[in-house]
Symmetry: C2
Subunit: 566 residues, 2 copies
């Protein structure tokens, strides 16, 4: 920076002008124009999804260890952002990027973000957020109704009733799940005559007072890691999240749940255990499959447990009547989490958590003199977070612009893409698809056709064999080949990251048709409406080509297994 | 909505186009223009800070209880937003709004929000946030250095070292404080041979294993309510936040802290108590005053306790060397929270929490197969939140555009305004100012001059009196008059809300020159650089005029006290 511009910038009059919405929008539009061109260039480039720069190179770029002293012109900083940041961002909106729950977003979202920033309301308090408090409550009521479908008069009574809260807008699904499990904890150990409740007295005293040795949370092995995080945070401890295995369709195994609940009930005396919550999943992060919500709800009720449904991924599907049957039973939940930055196509990040009982959030109600006074109408009384932006404008406006009808078309296109990818993979021969997509997620792996057929034959043989030694040998072979295929898929995923023209993600699942073996799988999330069949073909061709090439390095190991070697 | 536009909108091709950054920016700019004019109209209006619409009227406007079915044109929804939301938002950027920690923001923040939304990176994982992960780490290192000032080689080594984290970017100060106290909990009850640690085993088992009956957090009576929230959330219980009284300057009373720590140390056997954390405050929410951070740090160290500094408000003052002396000792902290949406002038909302020991966040490290794999470089391993936006771009760019030198000028102007308001109030006669602003916050109340002088006389008399009965009578008078003045100030605050041309906030403090009486005070936060002396004069004149008018309704009650009545 030269001396001249320093003089211009380090001056209060110049700084004050930055704080004024320009009198004519010209200046703003000038920057806006430049910005849009920048962004547009970035989006229209094909390939280079993650940009080819290496992580060590990026480390080098961002290694200034002290805050800049001197001011800098806006246009210089914007051009720095263009060259250093935008150029090396991940093109999550690219139709060839089908690896995570992030997709292209409608461009009007950017306009909405401009409004949110310009108004700069703080949702914690009515003195800093007037109309926006009401918008947020309206949005929460919409989702409450989609899930719990109470009467019109119920909503008329509660939608803007400041004494209760139908739910919270949060920064993301993790905070939503933590809020729900916090409410579950308060419901399990409430205040009563002679005891101040877990909120006031703490978790250890609550266990003692109510005569339990511990409290547990039950969720399937597909549960999101935020459930364990919540359990640690709330004082239960990570080990008190009990994982219930899933069936071949990645849904919680009801028999195992029933058995576990029975076993827990039998624990008495020093081992007496409180089932704090049973958590159902509406759209697992890894496979998009949906737990049997209805039956889980019944079992939770029988066990006298709180019932939370983590619908961060799939909850928005309730907007479309065709999806109601697979989500049946969600209305039995005490609380439901839904993310706006997933199937509502909002930018990062916004979560929702909705409670069946409008009085439940009163269990965690806090007040303070200076900000959320008793008897105030401030929303901050009910939330874990303090200061919060007016994020609810995004889904609120988007539901108006796109409408349920529009979301129906978007989900239909997403599901068509998921099924279409499955078909392309199955037809191609060298892939094994591993789930039936319910909510736009497909998991699969690369397995050269002869290997896939061999695995299939062995599995069939196992089913009819009675000879134990032979079964053991088959199991050994199946295991060894799967280990080879796992290594192949890890290598393939890394090579695809290098190639960088397409992107799917990768995970490891313990429960597939090969359980108890751990299987490395590729994972595609098909929600970008700009992704079409031709693009999917291209993605599969790329994977097939690279996978086939890599297989050569694994063939001899495979042949050894076939030959009965070690 | 008419049939025709329904046909146009409920169509996948139309929807797909919404997801494409327009080829030419024309369309975007057209909307942008409209938007800017909307926002500009809103900002340039004087008065009507909260808009005159009543809360019941707003309830009525936002009482649609079901999600819209049909799509709607963007321009229609934008005009709905203009009429229903923007018109009834709080003008937090207005220079006459000096009531909360929210102010005008520089307009370039809106450009930055556009970039953040368009890139839509998810900071949880490097696969969804490439350059932005490095920007975030760089920003965190800047603040680490401002606070802890380790060597250049320390920062070179750790700034982009994925095995550690110097801190987290969070959604707000509450999450920052919760993160810090969570780390304090893990440090107090770590895993060791024979015990899995509080994270895994839970809080109750941790107390048992380490032989404590409870764990407590110490903070002054000025502590933010998020500390109690964190204590409940983490399982300690709200009652285990022990409040240490403050001195006349609203700073933690060190004698009381020392005494409390000693008393806690004496508890043994069944009452043995772990001091989980001592929390110092760098800028209390109510008065902006700063605890004696250095001495608190020493006492915390002696007690073997974790030391957290809640610098959500004042931490950014470290950017300016002149403020270093009053923040002395902050470098003794184990962790420090700072909000970007406060003194960094970023829009809602972003917090930071920085840890002295770069390995501390490893205590809460989580991994999962599909998202934040072991040995990955993903930032989600270290955070309470899951999905997170690229908010760090805002302070990162703002520190470049404004620079330390620019922030120095902004803070200088803020402090000048705070002192100027104090002087105007003192000169006016009918006000009593109740703190010395250290960080741009002034508390005061309206007290007609004769009443103020009478209170003053009584206080002086009390000091020299030896006659107990007389002291009791004086105390009774002081109390009664203060009750009258409290009622007057509540009424004044409500009348100011009605008048709605200016805004200050209101709180109740237990510890002022009248302690143990609770005093209702008005609170001004002077950080808007567009607020100047003439505006402050106008604000005081308004308060004086309305206050004087209201006093008539209280005069007879006051005279009764003077006459010795009840």
């Amino acid at each position: 920076m030269n001396k001249e511009s320093k003089v211009v910038l380090a001056n209060l009059e110049y700084l004050r002008k930055l704080f004024i919405m320009p009198d004519s929008p010209d200046k703003f539009v000038e920057f806006g124009h430049e910005l849009l061109e920048m962004l547009h260039d970035f989006f229209k480039e094909k390939g280079g999804i993650h940009s080819s720069i290496s992580l060590p190179e990026l480390s080098h770029i961002f290694s200034t260890t002290a805050v800049p002293d001197e001011p800098n012109l806006i246009k210089n900083v914007l051009s720095e952002i263009k060259g250093k940041i935008i150029a090396h961002s991940v093109k999550v909106g690219n139709p060839y990027y089908i690896g995570h729950m992030t997709s292209a977003i409608p461009y009007f979202m950017i306009l909405l973000e401009m409004i949110i920033a310009a108004l700069n309301q703080n949702q914690v308090k009515i003195e800093t957020a007037k109309a926006s408090s009401f918008v947020e409550r309206e949005l929460v009521a919409w989702f409450h109704r989609l899930i719990f479908d109470r009467s019109e008069s119920y909503y008329q009574k509660n939608i803007q009733n400041p004494r209760v809260a139908l739910g919270n807008v949060t920064s993301d699904g993790t905070i939503s799940n933590i809020t729900a499990l916090l409410v579950a904890r308060e419901r399990a150990f409430p205040p009563e005559r002679g005891f101040g409740g877990v909120w006031e007295k703490g978790f250890s005293e609550a266990l003692k007072y109510y005569g339990y040795s511990r409290a547990v949370i039950l969720v399937s092995t597909r549960g999101h890691y935020s459930i364990k995080k919540a359990s640690s945070l709330l004082g239960l401890g990570e080990e008190n999240v009990l994982s219930i295995p899933v069936d071949d369709c990645h849904r919680m195994d009801l028999t195992r749940l029933r058995r576990k609940l029975k076993a827990l009930k039998r624990l008495t005396g020093k081992e007496r255990t409180k089932v704090l919550a049973v958590v159902g999943i509406a759209g697992t992060t890894e496979t998009g499959n949906i737990d049997p919500l209805d039956q889980i709800g019944e079992l939770a009720e029988e066990a006298g447990s709180y019932y939370h449904v983590d619908a961060c991924w799939g909850g928005s599907a309730l907007l479309v009547d065709e999806y109601r049957p697979i989500l049946k039973g969600i209305e039995k939940a005490d609380s439901v989490s839904i993310d706006a930055h997933k199937l509502l196509y909002c930018p990062m990040s916004m979560g929702l958590v909705v409670f069946k009982n409008e009085k439940d959030l009163n269990l965690i109600k806090q007040t303070s003199q200076y900000i959320i006074r008793r008897n105030s109408v401030d929303m901050g009384r009910f939330t874990i977070e303090g200061s919060r932006p007016f994020s609810s404008l995004k889904p609120w406006a988007s539901l108006k612009i796109i409408g349920r009808e529009g979301y129906r078309l978007l989900f239909k296109s997403a599901q068509a893409n998921a099924l279409s990818l499955k078909k392309i993979l199955d037809d191609r021969g060298n892939f094994e698809s591993l789930n039936s997509p319910e909510l736009f997620i497909l998991i699969y792996r690369f397995v050269p056709q002869p290997v896939r057929e061999q695995l299939h034959t062995w599995q069939e043989e196992k089913r009819i064999l009675r000879n134990k030694a032979k079964i053991t040998r088959l199991d050994r072979n199946i295991k060894k080949v799967n280990q080879i295929v796992n290594a192949l898929n890890i290598k393939l995923h890394k090579a695809l990251r290098q190639d960088d023209t397409t992107f799917v993600s990768r995970t490891t699942l313990e429960s597939t048709r090969y359980h108890p073996l751990n299987i490395v799988v590729l994972r595609a999330v098909l929600i970008n409406p700009l992704t079409d069949e031709a693009i999917l073909q291209e993605i599969v061709e790329t994977q097939n080509r690279i996978g086939t090439g890599l297989w050569r390095g694994f063939e001899s190991a495979y042949k050894k297994v076939l030959a009965g070697g070690t």
